[in-house]
């Protein structure tokens, strides 16, 4: 057996939650663009929010980033709820966009920017 270093495990956890958030955020965008139901997203988004809050409540070297993830998941949950209730407003969408941008700024302080091509990724930690 081998032990996993705490920093590595924290980064893995952050990468996982950030990835789940992005997938759900884009699924919500797809549903809104296609004017289709977001009902199926409510459960996974609630689960993500719970996981983010739990992770952010623990001692972690990436606690700030996990808190940003929880904030972004919260805004996404509100967007999904507002959409299911009859219509998200422009303000709802702008809050999701702002939370997403804040999240990735925080994430990129500890993880390489995932959008930079691998050939250029050596220097891809940025403060946004």
């Amino acid at each position: 057996m081998t032990a996993t270093a705490p920093g590595v495990e924290s980064e893995r956890q952050l990468r996982d939650l950030y990835g789940r958030y992005k997938a759900l955020m884009l699924a919500a965008a797809a549903a809104l663009l296609l004017d289709s139901s977001v009902d199926e997203l409510a459960g996974p988004v609630a689960e993500l929010l719970a996981d983010c809050r739990a992770a952010a409540g623990e001692a972690s070297p990436v606690r700030l980033q996990l808190a940003a993830c929880a904030e972004a998941a919260q805004e996404l949950a509100q967007l999904v709820a507002a959409t299911a209730a009859g219509g998200a407003t422009a303000a709802d969408l702008e809050r999701v966009r702002a939370a997403h941008r804040l999240l990735r700024r925080e994430v990129w302080t500890v993880l390489s920017c995932e959008y930079v091509p691998c050939c250029a990724s050596e220097d891809a930690n940025h403060d946004g």
């Binding site: 997938a23 955020m25 965008a29 663009l33 969408l93 997403h100 941008r101 920017c113 959008y115 946004g128």
Partner: protein
């Protein structure tokens, strides 16, 4: 048919752009300057931008720095050079969703947006694939999708399915499965001086079309099919009557020599391709506001 003025505006550049990206197969042949441009089409009734550049902040800044982009200027500065306020732009045609073409959408608050539905749907599909396949979503800001949702709620988004006349004389033409899944290019049919084709990234440089052996060579960065790229180039070539000067690449530095143009103090250029009746030149020093 219409009477359009057409400008190509440079908003940034890469000083050392790999030639192998500009032309497929030019590996190990060094680098060259690649301008980053978009086009402006103006009639009596409309002002359209074909692509938007990017915003040098957050996502755009991170990617631009990774690509070595320099000399960036915002739309407010660039369009002032041709006497246009970005708020007056009523039409935005996105050739594809890469950050250097669709990353400046927020500079144009009043524009109705036209993008191929396939460009959006295929991106959203690819974004749901496993992480190991995310190269397929390279250079696209996911925030664009939420921005498009908001523009849709304002009834200012058309997800185009195929070819569409945007306004008289100006059409978007699908170029699916080429540079990207849902790319398009824009044609302009002018009463006064004939046909123009605003290529987006369906070609990067004139040399994609014109070689001593007469054979097309596509761009070197293709997310779709190389075959579709070459066959789309043939469609483009036929549209302009085999006159390469009527094809307008957005990363071609030779454009400044082929058309009346001006270089500004920040080293960026504007080329004036066509002037409608009564439209003053914007590249004469006396006509330029900034």
């Amino acid at each position: 048919m219409a009477d359009c003025s057409i400008w190509v505006v440079e908003y940034a550049r890469v000083e050392e752009f790999a030639r192998g990206l500009l032309r497929y197969g030019d590996w190990n042949t060094g680098t060259t300057i690649a301008p980053y441009c978009y086009a402006v089409v103006k009639t009596d009734d409309h002002i359209a931008v074909v692509d938007t550049g990017y915003n040098h902040a957050e996502f755009g800044k991170v990617l631009a720095e990774s690509y070595g982009v320099s000399a960036w200027q915002p739309a407010e500065v660039i369009l002032k050079r041709i006497g246009i306020d970005p708020a007056d732009v009523d039409t935005m045609i996105l050739t594809h969703n890469h950050f250097d073409h669709a990353g400046g959408v927020e500079f144009f608050p009043n524009a109705h947006v036209y993008i191929q539905a396939r460009e959006v749907s295929r991106y959203l599909w690819a974004a749901g694939l496993p992480d190991r396949l995310q190269w397929l979503t390279s250079a696209v800001d996911p925030d664009l999708m939420l921005w498009l949702v908001n523009r849709m709620k304002q009834h200012k988004l058309t997800l185009v399915d195929g070819e569409l006349e945007i306004f008289p004389g100006v059409r978007c033409v699908p170029a699916h499965d080429t540079h990207t899944s849902g790319s398009q290019y824009v044609t302009v049919e002018n009463e006064r001086d004939g046909r123009w084709l605003l290529a987006g990234d369906n070609c990067y440089v004139y040399e994609n079309f014109v070689q001593p052996d007469g054979r097309f060579t596509p761009i070197g960065l293709i997310f779709g099919s190389v075959e579709r790229c070459v066959l789309t180039m043939e469609d483009m070539w036929q549209y302009v009557g085999e006159d390469v000067t009527r094809i307008v690449p957005f990363h071609e530095q030779k454009i400044w020599d082929k058309f009346p143009s001006r270089q500004f103090d920040d080293t960026l250029h504007v080329a004036e391709l066509s002037l409608a009746a009564g439209e003053p030149s914007r590249i004469e020093p006396a006509a330029v506001a900034g």
